[in-house]
Amino acid sequence: MGGGPMIQSIDYWAIAGPLVLALAAGLVLLLDAFVPSRWVSGAVTLAAIVAAGVVIAVQAAQGTTRGTFCIPGSAAGSESCSFVLDRFTLIFAGLTLAAGAVIVLLSMGELASGRIPAGEWYFLLLSTLTGAVLLPASRDLIMLVVSLELVSLPVFALTALRRFDGRASEAALKLFLVSVVSTAIMLFGVSLLYGLTGSVHLDLLAAHLRDGVSQPALMGGDGAGVLAVGVVLVLAGFTFKVAAVPFHFWVGDVYQGAPIPVAALLSVISKAAGFAGVILILTQALPNQSWLWTPIVAIVAALTMTVGNVLALRQRDAVRMLAWSSVAQSGYILAPLAIGSGAAASVTYLVFYAAMNLGAFAVVTRFPGLIESHRGLVWRSPVAALALAFFLICLAGLPPGLAGLFAKVVVFRELVDGGLGWLAVVMAINTVIGLYYYLAWTVRLFAGRPEGAPSVGSRAVVTAIGLTAAVAVAFSLAPQLVLSAVG
């Protein structure tokens, strides 16, 4: 230890967003212990998300990049920070918080039955959100792994909270096993990267790897073998989290068994966190190794979109169909990363996807069950049916669902400009396959007479449908909102 102060100074304004969420999580737990009321817990949770959203909005308006928890960097006078607040962080934080607010509204419908303990539910939800807001700001490997675990761990419990439902327990166990194994694999990869370079900060990692792998003695060679294994293991860990092929098996059962708001959370927030992690590691720590990871990402993306779409073709349950369709969408999000410099297109697609997919889940929360039970929904509940039709058309990428169309165009342009024509062709074929099942579902909404399947939920769920529909329409009319923000 050298001289000088050993304490890192903390920029509390920079970490205000996740801090608000973490404190609110503690508050919700205490409130549940002393004044158990699901309305109080719900209101506190929603207020915390809105407060964190305001913080993020003000930080975005300030427009400065801030870092905290810093150590001296590779160049003289520079700093490497574990927590960085930049445009990337703010976009992901905003996306997470907006999705979080919608999921709280959906939860209010789920909790209305009173059979699920509300205090625990909201506490776990806030913990997940804290992790998901922390993750895109993390710029060292340890922070990344810890925040990713903070996203994952509460979700097992959230899935299992329907203790009276055997399928929920099964889903929770599957999710737990898959997630723990993937974390172990990823930690192994992370330890190799650390062992190779001796640093955990992403920018220092990149600097070490650019200057030649620093410990050639390790393998008697240049360490390229160890590096390749490390990169593949880290990628494999993240592909579990974003449910990319070949680590996608858990998706169907887990989404179907989990409460629908939790399935929505898995498909948007948890997935966004996974993608934030992948993008950070690949573009910040390994930018000079893109020759190593771009082919892997391209193949995984092609397989993911194909397998997801093919599996979705035969589903009859609404949630299961959305589960496999979200696997296919993961493939589209992953595709631009295969260019090496296409992270912005990935983020753009992710933002559009989050709005459309959350909307579809919101309507399915209100009308759960088989897709067949949605037959003639437009005569019973015209607004919900029209909203669902719009979300599905967006996901398919057809006009008037311009949000989805723009998202796909952005990805296609990136792929073609980047010289990955074959991946663009694969994606085009997949888009056509996707059209079939999205449109078959949409047609059912308008066909025949209603059969009177029950509608579940409260005004909160209707509000959630309205909010997501408004956002999807706004993205369709003014896609530059997203395009310029992601830039």
Binding site: M1, G4, P5, M6, A33
Partner: protein, 123 residues
């Protein structure tokens, strides 16, 4: 085989010796001893008493909570020990002291919650 992988050869050899000693001992015993089994001789040895019940035993679920609490405090201690050795050293100070208590306060919320939910009572 010297160098990086050479050090693993020692481990492999040690493992082989260990397996050899163990298997050799059992094998020698097997070949030297007389073998005349009866029903009594084949019953499970349980300190000279006749075995009762089955091998599958259930433990009380209420111990589970205490196991959990133990894990919480054990993890707690992992952070406390290194902290205790340095917090008074130069370069650290009040901030370091307060930080640890912030951490402890978060864990205390968990204990308080468990207490309020009556998990700690012996039922």
């Amino acid at each position: 085989m010297d160098g990086y992988f050479g050090s693993y050869v020692v481990v492999a050899v040690l493992l082989a010796i260990g397996v050899g000693v163990f298997a050799g001992g059992l094998l020698a015993n097997r070949m030297l001893r007389p073998h005349r089994p009866t029903v009594e001789k084949l019953t499970t040895y349980e300190c000279g008493v006749d075995p009762v019940g089955e091998g599958w035993a259930q433990s009380q679920v209420r111990y589970y909570v205490f196991t959990y609490l133990y894990v919480v405090f054990a993890v707690d201690a992992v952070f406390l020990f290194p902290w205790a050795t340095v917090f008074a050293a130069p370069g650290f100070g009040t901030t370091t002291l307060v930080e640890m208590f912030v951490f402890l306060a978060f864990i205390a919320i968990g204990i308080l919650y468990a207490y309020r939910k009556r998990v700690l009572t012996w039922t």
